[in-house]
Amino acid sequence: MRRLMNPRVIGITLGVLALMAVSAYVLKVPLPAIVLPAEPIACIGGHLEPAEHGLHCASGFPFTNSMAATLVADLTIFLVFFFALRNKKLIPSGLQNAVEAVIEWFYTLVEDIAGKENARTFFPIVMTIFTFALFANWWELVPGMDAFGWIVEKHHGDGWARKELFAGVYTLVKEKGHYTLVPWLRTATTDLNVTIAMALIAVAYVQIAGVRFQGWKYFKKFIRPGYMSGGLMATVLDVFVGFLELISELARIVSFSFRLFGNIFAGTVLLFVMPYLIPLFVPLPFYGLEVFVGMIQAFVFAVLTLVFIVMAIISHGEHEGH
């Protein structure tokens, strides 16, 4: 408590509160536009053009705000690991200790679920999913994360008016107009491309692990082995069960990607709306909630991947034989 009460902390707190009050009551910032797809903020090898909503890049490769956030997440991952492991010591301290604790905790988890002999093989994908998802998710919590960007003119629909703050720097104000903001950064995991990419890699890895550990026998779960022997009904049933297995693999992609996307997108919207409605103090518990959600979603994605891998490498035939 005494550490919280020193003049510097009080000064910073008051400063932040003043900034919040100014931004909420003086600038009258409008509710940000909630856009489902990621928006291009640059056009590699072409020109950005204004489109119906925001910007459009038809002539080159679009560089979206979620890609920018992906790189920002990568940068934070790099910085954390760089400073943690800059001069590794056998007797760790500080950040090295924290990073090692998380890695060791996860490694033990992988060992417990997948077995000691497979832990090294499966650890990288599980840990990378957790690390990337965690850092990407937690970027949602950084105030001002998606507050900066291009202010573009909308051709259709309602927008907000803009006001010049100083030389060429504009802000949107809470008046009717036809401008909108395309933020430079958008929490990476609120872009379905990111979560689907992760889900595809996870599910593909599950199939690869299954084949690596069981050989072609792995595919027997899709084409049931006994489907010619047990009469017509059994054959129909086996084909149907195999089909269900196939569907369940595909469903995993959807559930993986939409679970992460949905949770973090909802969190982002929550953190848009709460400060907009009641700017002071009230958003704090929601920030706490989102810290938790961001971590839990990253953890769930990683551990489910691990569980699916373990389910795939265990032979079904052996189990039925027992």
């Binding site: 797809p37 979206t64 590794k88 056998l90 090692e100 650890f123 990378t128 990337f132 689907i196 992760m198």
Partner: protein
């Protein structure tokens, strides 16, 4: 495809993100997981070694301590035995000296007694002789005659022999 576009799903973006994730995984594996896990293994090994060495040292120390205690016990036992032996010898010596002294004393006493006896005999003899002579003198005076010397001696001899 319209629904996918509305959700923002785009094949190019998807491929970009897949490549990004694979690169990230490769980099993390190469620069983070492998070194850190090796470091953890190394540390575990070192700690195990350290614990084992400490255990060995403790056992060694306990062993030496037991040995020392045994030696100490042995020495204490020897010292006690020696003390007992010396005490015993001293006692013996004392007894011996006492016995000798007692014997010497007895011998001296006996000698003294003998001497005294002899002296007494001698004095008694002397006294008897004088008494006899005195008696003769008295008798001469009483009788009024002088006995010859030879007769005197005979009488004294008789007296001394207890015949008178």
């Amino acid at each position: 495809m319209g629904a996918l576009t509305n959700l923002g799903i785009n094949l190019n973006f998807l491929i970009t993100q897949i490549i990004h994730f694979l690169i990230l995984m490769w980099l993390l594996k190469k620069f983070v997981y492998t070194p850190v896990l090796n470091l953890l293994d190394e540390r575990r090994r070192r700690i195990e070694e350290g614990l084992k060495a400490a255990e060995l040292a403790r056992e060694e120390a306990a062993r030496q301590r037991a040995e020392l205690e045994k030696q100490l016990e042995e020495e204490r036992r020897q010292a006690q035995a020696r003390i007992a032996e010396i005490t015993r010898q001293a006692d013996q010596l004392r007894e011996q000296i006492l016995a000798e002294a007692r014997a010497e004393a007895e011998r001296i006493i006996a000698a003294a007694r003998e001497e005294a006896e002899r002296e007494r005999e001698r004095i008694l003899q002397e006294a008897r002789k004088q008494v006899a002579e005195l008696a003769l003198v008295i008798a001469q005076k009483v009788v009024g005659e002088t006995l010859d010397t030879q007769k005197q001696h005979q009488i004294i001899q008789k007296f001394l022999a207890g015949e008178l």
